[in-house]
């Protein structure tokens, strides 16, 4: 199985390919309903997560709501 290295929240991470943004969330155990995915600075909308392939060197940000004022 081949792997690619991508950056997830600023940390390098190896992901088996082929992989989509939805696969990454599944691998990390995250619920797509509570997480927003940004791929190379562009937001990936929820319905597109499983149609968005990841490639070597991609920068992914996974954010959610936390407490704040």
């Amino acid at each position: 199985m081949t792997e690619i290295e991508i950056m997830v929240n600023g940390e390098p991470r190896l992901v088996p390919v082929p992989a989509t943004a939805a696969d990454l969330l599944r691998q990390l155990g995250l619920d797509p309903r509570t997480v927003v995915v940004e791929l190379n600075r562009k937001i990936v909308r929820r319905p597109q997560l499983s149609d968005t392939p990841l490639a070597e060197g991609d920068a992914v940000e996974l954010v959610h709501f936390v407490g704040g004022g």
Binding site: G10, L28, I43, L62, H64, V66, G67, G68, G69
Partner: protein, 294 residues
């Protein structure tokens, strides 16, 4: 604290029980006597809200206490922040595990952003994560005072308003910036009472009053309120509402403080609508001087 051997075993200390009784009493009272009869609901960006108190969700000692404090505050609008998911411990971390978007109107902020671009990026992520197009816009200009970068703020406000966001802009007590934010298309302007997290109270009542008098959009005072009298005094200036976080989260008892703040905001609003008596430099007897014995 050491448990006294002479104390009879009770389910809760007497002070705690009487506080609970007080809450029960206060909550009945506020249900009976809600808005002043002449008041209109607070409307921001086309949405109406019953409560003029908005609360943040940061810095609480634990989530259970936060939820109880929000409940006691009666707030509908609750602010949240956008941050990276912690990939090492993802369990039970997001605020949505504790707050239901059905029960609260979640207002995402751009706290911690120091440039317009950064704030716009956070606002877009928040809209995608969230449940509405409202954003509490912060563009901070200084790490020590957390005072706003008004230039960056205006740039971001214009951009976000053009993208259809309902922008509630955190700003200072400067009228000109407030007017420009209104012109930029903000749904509300949020001048500070004093710096974020300072608890210094309302430092410039004149500035806040002037902003309220000159703007057409709602004016919500955000940041700096430390205790109930600060909230009451702020509402007495005629502003449309108050947003607070640290005053509750850092109180010894956040739930009790939230109940107090709820009453203070209502009291200040009532007093503003009632119109206060004039200030006089001399005394004026309240009791008639006629009819005194010879």
């Amino acid at each position: 604290m050491l448990k006294s051997v002479r104390e009879p075993p009770t389910p809760a200390p007497p002070a705690y029980r009487s506080l609970l009784t007080a809450y029960a009493y206060l909550s009945t009272m506020t249900i009976v006597q809600t808005e002043p009869s002449t008041d209109t609901p607070l409307t921001i960006g086309g949405r109406s809200f019953r409560s003029r108190l908005m609360v943040g969700t940061g810095k609480y000692r634990d989530n259970g206490e936060m939820v109880r404090a929000i409940e006691a505050s009666g707030a509908e609008i609750v602010t949240v922040a956008v941050r990276r998911v912690d990939l090492d411990r993802t369990k039970d971390e997001g605020i949505l595990h504790h707050l239901s978007p059905d029960q609260h109107f979640l207002l995402a902020n751009t706290a911690g952003c120091y440039t317009a671009d950064e704030a716009v990026r956070y606002a877009r992520l928040a809209r995608e994560a969230g449940f509405n197009e409202f954003v509490k816009l912060e563009v901070i200009g200084d790490r020590e005072t957390l005072l706003p970068d008004t230039e960056g703020l205006l740039t971001a406000a214009r951009e976000l308003a053009a993208e259809g966001f309902k922008v509630l802009a955190y700003t200072n007590d400067d009228l000109i910036t407030a007017l420009r934010l209104e012109d930029a298309g903000c749904a509300a302007v949020m001048p500070l009472a004093s710096p974020i997290g300072s608890g210094l109270g309302l430092l410039n009542p004149y500035g806040i009053r002037t902003i309220k008098r000159r703007l057409s959009v709602p004016v919500i005072v955000d940041a700096g309120v430390g205790t109930a009298s600060d909230a009451c005094l702020t509402m007495e200036q005629g502003v449309d509402g108050i947003l607070m976080n640290t005053a509750l989260a850092e109180a010894r008892d956040p739930v009790a403080m939230a109940a107090g703040m709820r009453l203070a905001v209502e009291a200040g609003r009532h007093a503003f609508l009632a119109g206060r008596m004039p200030r006089r430099e001399v005394a004026m007897p309240s009791t008639p001087s006629a009819g005194m014995l010879e």
